[in-house]
Symmetry: C2
Subunit: 327 residues, 2 copies
């Protein structure tokens, strides 16, 4: 877990006045990342950081070579058309770039002259997916949500016995994750009423939306090698908001025994901005064990030997997105 540092100081002030707008999402303490270009243009996509009502063009900034060391390495990675290379670096790199940007944006910073050339108004840009998503996993993490949704499909048995023991998740269609704010087609599929003998083909009438937390995993682990719990957080680049759209009528008919498929494939929408774990440090609260949950000593314990086979090393799979349900 990242410690509080000078970038979190609530008294920091930027030379950009819109960073201090009442209720603004992008003060100097936030500095989230996106991929953007000017609206309607054919410019190359590149990384950007939000400040006030502006986007810092990281590709242009990189060409001015304002930073050194890890901050410069991270800036070079962030100037590409996806943030996969940036997400594949280490927390030390992410932190160095954040610190360098924070200092350059402060009142009196000598970098003001160079940085303000590379600002693009947010009102004039369009966003793309922050990363090429290699795999997208949807976890079923709220017991309240799991009970509520489970009741729709299995009124007599909403929560399965495995729920309190093992993380329940499934792979979503990575290619249908899109940036929020776009239209998409209402899904069409087989619908079967409980009292009908046969399904009919038609447009979904029970389209549902859930608000979830998207998690971008950057650093990879080799296939077959577990990530120790103590190191898990180093793999998390940042968080976004995610809307999980579901055609509940298609899902009810198709989902057994292999899980939801076409009922979820039509679209998953995410916010263009990815907020880093470091930016969220001041807002963290301690974990509270839910009443009645299995205690650590009661959880599944290792038994038997380790893997018999050597692990296979493979190249980076950066940019995996994971979704966690909040509601």
């Amino acid at each position: 877990m990242t410690a509080l540092n000078e970038t979190h100081d609530p008294h920091l002030r930027s030379w950009l006045s819109s960073a201090h707008a009442e209720g603004g999402d992008f003060p100097i303490q936030n500095l989230p990342f996106a991929v953007f270009r000017r609206k309607g243009s054919t410019e190359p996509l590149r990384g950007g950081v939000a400040i006030g009502d502006q986007v810092i063009d990281l590709a242009e900034l990189h060409s001015a070579k304002p930073f050194s060391g890890r901050a410069a390495e991270a800036l070079a990675a962030a100037s590409q058309s996806t943030l996969n290379a940036l997400m594949g670096l280490t927390p030390a790199h992410w932190s160095a770039l954040r610190l360098a940007l924070s200092r350059a944006l402060r009142e009196g910073a000598h970098e003001q002259a160079v940085l303000q050339i590379f600002l693009v108004p947010q009102a004039q840009v369009e966003y793309a997916l922050p990363a090429r998503i290699g795999d997208y996993t949807d976890f079923y993490t709220s017991i309240y949500h799991a009970t509520n949704v489970g009741r729709l499909f299995r009124p007599d048995n909403p929560l399965m016995p495995n729920y309190k023991w093992v993380p329940i998740g499934y792979h979503g269609r990575a290619s249908s994750v899109v940036v929020s704010g776009q239209n998409f087609a209402r899904p069409c599929g087989q619908l079967k009423a409980p009292d009908s003998e046969a399904p009919v083909l038609g447009a979904s009438k029970r389209l549902d939306i859930e608000l979830e937390l998207g998690v971008f995993l950057g650093q990879y682990n080799a296939l077959g090698e577990a990530v120790p719990m103590a190191q898990a957080e180093e793999h998390v680049f940042g968080l976004c908001l995610l809307n999980d759209w579901s055609a509940r009528d298609i899902q009810a008919w198709e989902y057994q025994p292999l899980g939801p498929f076409l009922s979820k494939n039509f679209a998953t929408t995410i916010s263009p901005w990815v907020v880093t774990m470091e930016a969220l440090t001041p807002y963290r609260t301690a974990f509270a064990r839910p009443a009645g949950a299995a205690l650590p000593g009661q959880r599944a314990q290792p038994r038997g030997g380790r893997s018999r086979y050597p692990a296979l090393r493979r190249p980076a799979d950066a940019g995996h997105a994971r979704a966690r349900r909040r509601h």
Copy 2:
């Protein structure tokens, strides 16, 4: 469906004698694609075509510019480190390259002198994944298999009522698809015996393997736009063999309600060679409707209007792999 043409002629002979080896997999009528480099080297990965006991190095061949038109375009695409660009072209491109290679490999071909410089013995190469796989979907397509596997998990209810109506499938972990012939770790996970109250953590004892057919989809369709049945085959670049590994003991405990997850995530292995649909044309047989299956007139019929929303167009997602179970 591709028609038979001169590349299928069983009497064709190559100037490469190993193409005529008894029981050989790679006669001049086959010409499958892979991605390769010399074993143990740091050479760039590039496309190759198998002939006899050799691989034609398509990157080197491309540099000699032996072909023109669509065959040249396809050869350029096939010289990259993945076959995604080749798979994203049209069946006319794939066919033009096949015809050009077939003619250049025949006895008496004037291209023999240039082509034989670019042959690498298969015994000296290593293979990589043929494509960057954007999504990997596992379909549950054999009623015999579905009944047999279903009986393992639900002895009293092996086949769900949806099985005969809707294709049952789920997304697999695209990043764990690897080329056959490599070692991987035996999965470790929660195992719960039916008579135990709590699960234990341990190495899987019920590792299962299935032989399936892998299907590489190249050309994309826009999100929300269906591919008409009559055009579906134009999206299929070719087939490979696929082994679907499953930890059945982990699966039995985790799979409800969202389907298999960790029990399938550890590895899926595929053959390095992708056989094109055109190469398989002589072996096709007519579809036979299984006894008792719903007739077309009994299948789900459209009802109600089309999608209310305009479809969203997005860039190509080439290289999606789909698996079809054979056993």
